[in-house]
Subunit: 118 residues, 2 copies
DNA sequence: TCAATATATCGATTATCTTGGATATATTGA
DNA sequence: TCAATATATCCAAGATAATCGATATATTGA
């Protein structure tokens, strides 16, 4: 991750339809959803959503795989990790205690044992 | 955090000068830097940087405090946490194991014990 | 090969963002 | 109060992005 790809990722998420599409795909991990289904659920024209999905994919935030006539999109959680990590990287290196809130958030919310607490 | 404020945060970081300003402030936690110093270090005109800082502040990613003639800006790491948390929230609820990579990243990089490993 | 289905690309219009000169406001010391 | 310093706001030009109708491409079953 570098400045250019970070800009791509933040730009990709800085648009309502794309942000919601990404969050929809996050909720549908690990199965993903076909492009048309995403467009339908978010009530966005098919071609508009197709452009948006292409932007998310170029930014490394979603991945696509053709399944017969459909193209299935999936969220790339790793993309979020890379993006966030880039954002706070030197904070961690120099003053690790400052990132504690981030660790706390993901530790308490995302580990299987404590998931129902969030 | 909701869709609107998430869009504000992502938009704020989706611009080179603002992204670098934020990362500069992250590296200068917890002291912060005066507005003029940020502009100078990133080689951006003072008024342009002032607009950018205002956008980051409105997005909740930085905070300002006047110190005599200077305005000191500081990164709000919590802002990053809120933003990232919003992005993957329902993934955590439904399938917590999918967020494991995020937890792993921050746990291994940002805790005091393992900080030098990153 | 043809029709049906699913998705992607093209292109033009409209809207939004970025930039920085000029200028305003805020604070301090003399 | 005045000059110096630090930051913010205004505004207009240029650049960039969003939207969606029309159309192209890809895949399947008949």
């Amino acid at each position: 991750m570098n400045s250019v790809s970070a800009i791509d990722a933040f730009s990709a998420l800085a648009q309502p339809s794309r942000l919601e599409a990404f969050r929809l795909l996050v909720r549908h991990e690990p199965d993903g959803l076909p492009a048309g289904e995403i467009a339908r659920r978010l009530d966005v024209p098919q071609n508009t959503m197709s452009s948006h999905l292409a932007i998310l994919a170029r930014a490394g935030l979603i991945a696509s795989e053709r399944h017969s006539r459909s193209v299935i999109y999936r969220a790339r959680i790793d993309g979020v990790r890379e993006m966030t990590s880039f954002l706070v990287s030197d904070c961690c290196g120099g003053n690790p205690e400052l990132c504690a809130p981030l660790v706390a958030e993901f530790s308490s919310c995302c580990t299987p044992e404590t998931a129902n607490a969030c």
